[in-house]
């Protein structure tokens, strides 16, 4: 009998892994979190203060991969379908940071809950040809206590009573909303004139001092930047709580390559990882877990790890969903003030609600129903980003001075519900390898016509809103782009692959092993002490930012695990 190094190993330190580790250590378990990226977030020595590596620096954060992954070390590949050959591009595909804290570290943290019907789409709306529409094996009521708990742990600022479509809640938000971005007041007023119902976004950035962390100061470098003052709670709050129990540790630069099983292949006994502090020959370290292995690598890397290990069955990687993003861009005569603020302070849910107009658009598209997604009122482009969008040459300075794509821009972004399709998937690229010789993950993805119809509907509504708000011009674009791919290969600022960082569905949960990868408790059907604690388990993508829901699911799964 060998002794275990800990009760549970958690693979990945993003919002999913951090919440699981927090719950397990609070219940008395010993936990080791393995994170392949480096640590820029929190000191791993008492008193576990924020590291403060980050500043408002577009070069380091956006251009030079400070939070990883470096696409040279960890390339991913993309194609739309098998007819494209092995791949259309190699490099960055939906890269979320690879660092202690994962994507939570640099998300701008709009953290809405899903609504009751999002968990029962098949029952409430019915099937759609070519898509695999299913109900979740749990309800909103099952998840509600965990939503409330993770809102409290992360620290979500928001208000009740202003979103008429919101699901019921057992308690209010832990903090009031932060200050509004002034331009959001202009576009939300226009949206209201068009019959829409905007509200202040629930946001994981402190509006007041909370849990020992300061209030956000609206520095304007939020999405894609770590917070210089640790005003974002996700996931530093969970990691600090876990570390303070004395039962948890985080090991950065630890790339898990293998989940080790017992002789019968029915239980995980631990993992093997590469210690990436060493170059060029990282040693392989084996760690034993007495009770469970939690996989929380994010929906892309989790699928890749399971596929490499032959775990989880034939459905692993399939039913990959994103949010089909529709960006309606308004160019205004004056400065929209987007250089300061939290990027997005307001949302509206109306495109998620059955209205006669939306049903009419569905009928026209030959579909039984349509769902758009939550719409974000915001602005976010740094000056380097903007400069890169204009062609080089004598007119560059004039374009920057005119600044139609930053200073005078305001954007309504729809995080459109993406229907699950079995052919949309993450699998292993047949020949591209990462720096350690492991097969790169490959995305095969194209939208269903549902997404295209919903996007066209949203674009028309939002262009009218922005013109009413005073825009001189309004136009819409989608990610992924819908036109001839050659037109976009080198000039499209958001690229030809889906730019969404909301990645879901690659190890769906369900009650039937024939149609799902994990059980309702998020355990792999084939190895039941391996739990998946990230958005891989989503059954539908819903039209809402995924992180609060994946954190609530992780909280629930870890709570059930500890009994």
């Amino acid at each position: 009998m060998t002794t275990a190094d800990c009760d549970a190993i958690v693979i990945g330190s993003g919002p999913g892994g951090a919440v699981a580790a927090d719950v397990l250590t609070a219940a008395g378990w010993s936990v080791i979190v393995l994170e392949k990226g480096r640590n820029h977030l929190v000191s791993l020595d008492p008193p576990y203060e924020p590291l403060r590596h980050l500043s408002n620096d577009e070069i380091a954060m956006v251009r030079r991969h400070l939070l990883g992954p470096d696409p040279r070390l960890e390339p991913r590949t993309y194609r739309r379908h098998a007819d494209d050959g092995d791949r259309l591009l190699t490099g960055e595909v939906n890269n979320l940071p690879s660092t202690v804290g994962g994507g939570g570290y640099h998300a701008d943290a709009k953290l809405p809950r899903f609504r009751e019907e999002d968990f029962a789409l098949r029952t409430t709306r019915g099937p759609i040809d070519g898509a695999d529409v299913r109900d979740w094996p749990l309800t909103y009521a099952d998840l509600e206590p965990h939503y409330a708990e993770v809102e409290r742990i992360i620290g979500v600022a928001g208000e009740t009573g202003t979103n008429p479509f919101a699901a019921w809640r057992s308690s209010g938000f832990p903090m009031p909303p932060g200050p509004d971005m002034p331009m959001a007041l202009v576009t939300t007023a226009a949206a209201a004139r068009h019959g829409l119902h905007p509200y202040r976004a629930p946001t994981g950035a402190n509006s007041v001092e909370y849990d020992g962390r300061p209030a956000c100061v609206d520095c304007g470098f939020c999405g894609r930047y770590g917070c210089p003052v640790a005003a974002k709670g996700d996931p530093i709050a969970s990691l600090q709580r876990m570390l303070r129990t004395g039962r948890g540790q985080v090991r950065p630069e630890a790339l898990v390559t293998e989940i080790v099983l017992d002789a019968a292949g029915r239980r995980a006994t631990g993992v093997r990882y590469l210690d990436l502090a060493h170059h060029p020959d990282p040693p392989v370290i084996e760690l034993r877990a007495g009770r469970a292995v939690i996989v929380a690598g994010g929906a892309f890397e989790t699928a890749r790890l399971l596929l490499r290990n032959g775990l989880g069955g034939d459905l692993v990687g399939r039913h990959l969903t994103y949010h089909f993003q529709t960006f309606t861009v308004g160019i205004f005569p004056d400065d929209t003030g987007g250089d300061r603020g939290r990027d997005v302070t307001h949302l509206h849910d109306d495109l998620m609600i059955d209205t006669p107009e939306l049903l009419g658009a569905a009928r026209e598209a030959g579909l039984p129903w349509l769902r758009g997604g939550v719409t974000e009122h915001g602005s976010a482009a740094g000056p380097v980003d903007e400069a890169l969008m204009y062609p080089g040459g004598p007119r560059h300075a004039a374009a920057m001075a005119d600044s139609s794509l930053r200073r005078r821009m305001w954007v309504l972004t729809v995080q459109g519900e993406d229907l699950a399709q079995p052919a949309n998937r993450v699998d292993l690229d047949p020949s591209v390898r990462d720096a350690w010789g492991l097969p790169a993950g490959r995305v095969t993805y194209r939208p269903h016509r549902h997404e295209l119809a919903a996007s066209a509907y949203a674009a028309a509504v939002h262009e009218a809103v922005l013109v009413d708000a005073g825009a001189q011009a309004a136009f819409s674009a989608t990610s992924p782009p819908q036109h001839d791919i050659d037109l976009h290969a080198s000039i499209n600022p958001i690229g030809i692959a889906p730019a969404s960082r909301h990645v879901m569905g690659t190890a769906r949960m369900g009650t039937d092993p024939a149609t799902s990868v994990v059980s309702p408790e998020q355990r792999l059907w084939d190895v039941d002490n391996v739990l998946i604690c990230d958005s891989s388990v989503f059954v539908t993508s819903a039209g809402y930012n995924p992180t609060l829901t994946l954190a609530a699911l992780s909280h629930r799964a870890a709570t059930l695990l500890t009994g």
Binding site: N56, D57, R64, R72, C219, D339, R340, P383, S403, R407
Partner: protein, 144 residues
Amino acid sequence: MTGARAAEPSEQGAVFDGPARAVIAAALDAQVPGSVALGAVDYVERLLTALDHDPPRLWAAPEGSGQAWLEVGVWERAAWAQRIAEMHAAYDRVAAGEPTEADVRLVHEHACEATFGDPAYGGNRDGAGWRQIGFPDPLFPPAR
């Protein structure tokens, strides 16, 4: 060693010899007029010599943090060594008047970064690039 590179980086971090420097400066200015006056050549040279320093001068540390540059991991360092070697080769082609399409894109990227990125990296002298476009000084700048 090719024409675009002097034998050793000088104290100032100069990489390009005189004629190459002039051609590269012209290429940067052709992409973003005025970028060279704001330090674009210096920006490129500092990037190409970033790994000659310890810690590498790739990622500026926050102002007031007591350090100037953040540590770079061993694997990240290897990736940047490869990337920088390819940039050297690209600038050799630019200096020789034979840039590829990808080289021109790289020059465009660097001209944009140098003009509108943080002054910590050698471009955007005194924040003049930001002033031209009305971009406010960041609240939490990196160490310059």
